[in-house]
């Protein structure tokens, strides 16, 4: 570290959700070029680093169902959404790290960041409830 700077403050970590957005064909099929092994390796790296909190891959959009509740409480249940989106949420991980630079580094190492995919990095809102 040429310009390294030792930490002067011990700050609590922040949890970030990494949302893996995958490019899809018009049929909703994910085409990110990642193999199952890529994801297994990434998963293991996060766990070995002790930063992984939780996370899951998601089934593809053909299995998705949308629910909305109207003003008078009636439920509308629809199949989808489908093909109009070119990027779909393919999975997520929640990690516990010191700051955004570290979170972005983990996001960039994820297989989903390549091959036309992208990773959205969002801090978890910690709501403190008075007891």
């Amino acid at each position: 570290m040429l310009y390294g700077d030792p930490p002067h403050r011990e700050e609590p970590n922040v949890k970030y959700m990494l949302l893996f957005m995958s490019p899809t064909t018009t049929d909703g099929e994910i085409v990110d070029g990642c193999t199952f092994e890529d994801w297994i390796r990434y998963d293991r790296e996060m766990k070995d680093a002790g930063i992984w909190v939780s996370g899951h891959p998601l089934q593809d959009l053909t299995t998705c169902t949308t629910v909305q509740v109207g003003a008078s409480g009636e439920r509308t249940i629809t199949d989808g959404p489908f093909a109009e989106t070119r990027e779909v949420l393919g999975g997520y991980d929640i990690i516990d790290v010191p700051n955004l630079d570290v979170a972005l580094d983990w996001a960039a190492r994820g297989p989903g960041a390549r091959g036309g995919g992208s990773v959205q990095v969002r801090p978890i809102a910690e709501i403190e409830v008075e007891v």
Partner: protein, 416 residues
């Protein structure tokens, strides 16, 4: 009189030390808002005490100590804030561990980390220059608003939003490691450069504070140069700013009208500044392949070294634009290259290159494309076409002095 003297010296100290003070406070407490508030309180305290007690021998350290005490008081009152900002560390601060001061100044220099926070790529590009001006140049929010020609309320809102992102997304206050630097330094340089170009976007007539803005950018670039002496692109940036700013006195006529490079009285250029800039170009171009700021500085140096337009080393200018185009494949660089080719090989050659750029949508709405074309057509005596191109440029141009310049050129091709 003692009071007045102390007041003006408080302002002078604050102006000079504000960036350092804020950086030290952010470094210790990790929060820009808290740093801003207690820095202001420390200044207010100085305004009360210094006129009667005299200016302390180490004014910067006095301000920092006062601000830190205020911050600790505030953290003790505000539990939520304290939890967020690691109260334990603050308590340790209160126990009185003095910060390491460098030899010739009375405040430690934590500004480099703050540069990287303010220009973090996770922040909107348009806010990075504003944050840098606010926190490192020490301008007030109203002054930053004036710098970017937006209403103060708009700027205040933008700064609040940016600070919220820094806080909530935990954009760190740290200097990136050597391996990250190639990726992270460009946004810092860009933030400073954007302050400079903002200063030049309308530097004329009554807008005298715009020149101040260019000088603020140079001051920021000088600070960066001291903090990152091994980074050649920092030398390139400072060199570029100096080599352009050296022409400031010749850039406008008596009525505030724009005078382009070709027509400037080169005797009015600041030759001391040019010499300093040329020295930095040597630094920027020595060693590994140069970066974009170093190359642009080298181009500016070729202009500054030439006694007039005709004797400018145009083949070398074109060669440097070739290098720059390889580093920054932008149509604006290609446009500038075409203008240089026109000087080397004649207007026809430049015009042919401009025609190649005609379909590039990224130049849509950019007034210098039709303006450059118009100048070449004028030089070829194709006055009707030149007039049409000047008229097109006039529909796109943003600033009044440039508009006046284009109108004069339009007249010159329509009245003879």
């Amino acid at each position: 009189m003692v009071g007045e003297e102390a007041t003006s010296s408080v302002e002078a100290v604050f102006r000079e030390e504000r960036g350092r003070l804020l950086a030290s406070l952010v470094h210790r407490f990790g929060d820009l808002d808290l740093a801003e508030e207690v820095a202001s309180e420390a200044i207010e305290a100085a305004l009360v005490h210094w006129p009667t007690d005299g200016v302390p021998t180490r004014p910067g350290a006095w301000l920092l100590t006062t601000a830190r005490r205020r911050a600790v008081d505030r953290l003790r009152r505000d539990r939520v804030l304290a939890t967020r900002l690691a109260v334990l560390q603050a308590e340790a601060e209160r126990a009185g561990s003095a910060p390491p001061a460098d030899a010739d100044r009375d405040l430690p220099d934590d500004r480099l980390a703050l540069f990287f926070t303010c220009a973090h790529p996770a922040l909107p590009a348009q806010d990075r220059g504003a944050l840098t001006l606010r926190f490192l140049a020490g301008l007030t929010t109203a002054e930053v608003a004036r710098a970017f020609l937006v209403p103060p309320a708009t700027m205040a809102q933008r700064l609040v939003r940016a600070k919220r992102k820094i806080r909530e997304a935990r954009i760190p206050f740290r200097v990136p490691g050597a391996d990250e630097l190639p990726e992270r330094l460009p946004t810092v340089l860009q933030a400073v450069y954007s302050v400079f170009t903002e200063g030049y976007a309308a530097s004329s007539g009554p807008d005298l504070q715009r020149t101040d803005l260019a000088e603020e950018a140079i001051r920021l670039a000088r600070i960066l140069r001291r903090l990152l002496p091994a980074e050649r692109e920092v030398a390139g940036l400072l060199g570029l700013l100096l080599l352009i700013h050296a022409r400031r006195a010749a850039r406008t006529g008596p009525d505030g009208e724009v005078i382009l490079l070709d027509d400037q009285d080169r005797g009015r250029w600041d030759h001391g500044m040019i010499d300093e800039g040329r020295g930095l170009v040597v630094v920027a171009l020595t060693g590994r392949p140069p970066g974009p700021y170093g190359v642009q500085a080298a181009i500016a140096a070729l202009h500054d070294e030439a006694p007039d337009v005709a004797s400018t080393d145009w083949p070398q200018v074109v060669a440097l634009y070739d290098v720059l185009l390889g580093l920054v494949p932008s149509p604006i660089v290609a446009l500038n290259r075409a203008a240089a080719v026109a000087m080397r090989d004649g207007p026809d050659a430049g015009l042919a290159l401009l025609d190649d750029l005609a379909d590039d949508s990224r130049l849509n709405g950019y007034h210098l494309y039709p303006a450059t074309r118009a100048d070449l057509l004028r030089r070829l005596g194709r006055h009707d076409e030149a007039a049409a191109a000047y008229r097109q440029a006039l529909t796109l141009v943003g600033t009044e002095p440039e508009r006046a310049h284009l109108r004069r050129r339009l007249e010159s091709v329509t009245t003879d």
